[in-house]
């Protein structure tokens, strides 16, 4: 899966760059892994991913760092 590192970015850029990256995926890509250290985007990215047809799994990988795994549904 492709990886997008948005550490150091604050709202709304983590979400905007994630949406941009999701739109660029080809139908054959199964999804995208986003790495962030900005907690508020844990609440802004999932609804946008849902809108574009991806499900979100959040894992905490550090303090403070999270990985959002966005997988194409179906």
């Amino acid at each position: 899966m492709q990886r997008l590192d948005v550490r150091g970015e604050i709202c709304p850029y983590p979400m905007l760059r994630t949406v941009q990256a999701l739109r660029k995926l080809t139908p054959r890509d199964e999804g995208l892994v986003v790495v962030t250290d900005h907690a508020p985007c844990l609440e802004t990215i999932p609804p946008q991913a849902t809108r574009l047809g991806f499900s979100t799994t959040i894992t905490e990988t550090g303090t403070p760092e999270w990985t959002l795994t966005l997988v194409r549904e179906r």
Partner: protein, 406 residues
């Protein structure tokens, strides 16, 4: 997760940092309490505001911006919750001060501010600036405590913008601020009807927000909660601690807590706001360097967040409110494990924060307050200026979201 030993217990390193910071905050309170000057009260309120802002990730900027950028009204619903709590609370304080509002007296500390073209220009510039900077004044201050370097840069920009207002204040005073009417709704329709009208307007905004969201095709998603704790008492306590100290609070709870704190602060002193204090720092520094702006006509007669001349020495109760907000946010972030010095990887972001900050400073200076003083404390003051500023903030935030979405 790295651990350290505290009194024989192994605790995560970030928890230890939170404990040390909390002890520091209490030590500061012990030092401040005997000094008088209301320092201790404002330090405690600052800490409380900072903790709530950090824990609920409350952000006035996203409340306005995300309406346009995402058709998401989550933040705006939090803001409305806060206003709905603060409005009756402020009304009780004000109706005790001015039982008969028709006699032309205004409650002295309420943020009922002159209305004019400066309100419009200030609101639009502030709204644009906060979206570019990625946070308004309160948001930047709480993010400073979380370690966001760009927010320190944004605050620096605000200080520059406020100094710019100081040199142009008298011009704004002559053309608009000095001529502006201070319109307090109870003076025209009484206390009860003013509260009713304000609640009706808040309800209208709530309905408009939900309608706008419902057209986005974006179903709201409650954030996933940590797994249920079972019956074990220690596990249940850990679960509660997790919800309070680590997970973000629901935004409506954050908004309601901010509204309640604002009422308590007003009941004891004056409403929440700090633009005047920020201006006091730079104008005071400019005066000390003998390059000050001179007299600011009428500024000291205005309540709320109008510019302050900065001739009262370094210590002021409002200084401790601002420092407390940074400290409270730091403490909350430390316990949550969310503190980290974060430097944007793209240098352009720093410039964006600086430019946005300057715009916010100038907008807050002529608008007589930021999202707090001219909006969050002004609408509950039942001043018409709060609603005008809010509309202009929204226009500025719309412009800003057009710019950043490109």
């Amino acid at each position: 997760m790295r651990h350290v030993m505290v009194l024989g217990y192994q605790v995560p390193r970030h928890t230890a940092l939170g404990i040390i910071a909390s002890l520091g905050a209490i030590a500061a309170l012990v030092v401040l309490a005997p000094l008088g000057g209301d320092f201790a009260r404002f330090w405690v309120f600052g800490l409380a505001f900072g903790i709530v802002l950090q824990r609920s990730r409350f952000c006035f900027t996203s409340a306005f911006r995300d309406l346009f950028l995402l058709q998401d009204g989550r933040g705006m619903r939090g803001v409305l919750a806060g206003l709905a709590i603060a409005t009756p609370g402020f009304a009780i304080v004000m109706s005790n001060q001015i039982p008969n509002p028709t006699l032309g007296m205004l409650p002295p500390d309420a943020n009922i501010l002159p209305l004019g073209i400066h309100t419009v220009v200030g609101g639009v510039i502030f709204g644009l600036g906060m979206v570019l900077a990625g946070g308004c004044a309160s948001g930047s201050i709480s993010r400073m405590g979380e370690g966001y370097v760009a927010s320190w840069v944004a605050l620096g920009g605000m200080l520059i913008g406020l100094l710019g207002v100081a040199y142009t204040w008298n011009w704004w005073w002559d053309i608009s601020i000095g001529r502006g009417a201070r319109i307090w709704l109870p003076a025209y329709i009484g206390h009860g009807a003013s509260i009713a009208v304000t609640f009706a307007a808040l309800a209208g905004m709530y309905l408009a927000t939900v309608w706008w969201e419902s057209r986005s095709g974006l179903a709201p998603q409650p954030p996933a909660l940590p797994a249920a704790p079972g019956v074990d008492m220690a596990a249940r306590l850990r679960h509660v601690a997790q919800l309070v100290f680590v997970r973000g609070w629901p935004i409506a709870i954050g908004g309601a807590a901010l509204g309640l704190l604002n009422v308590l602060l007003y009941a004891g002193a004056h409403p929440w706001g700090f633009t005047g204090e920020l201006s006091r720092w730079v104008i005071g520094a400019a005066n000390a360097l003998q390059i000050g702006p001179g007299t600011l006509t009428g500024a000291d007669e205005l309540p709320g967040c109008a510019l302050e001349l900065g001739d009262g020495g370094v210590l002021h109760h409002m200084l401790f409110l601002v420092l407390g907000m940074i400290g409270g946010s730091f403490i909350a972030a430390a316990f949550a494990g969310e503190f980290r010095i974060r430097v944007p990887r793209q240098p352009a972001r720093q410039l964006q924060a600086l430019g946005g900050g300057i715009a916010m400073g100038y907008g807050a200076g002529i608008g007589l307050g930021c999202t707090i003083g001219a909006f969050f404390s002004a609408i509950p003051s039942l001043g018409l200026n709060g609603w005008v500023f809010a509309g202009c903030l929204a226009c500025g935030a719309w412009l800003g979201s057009r710019i950043i979405a490109r």
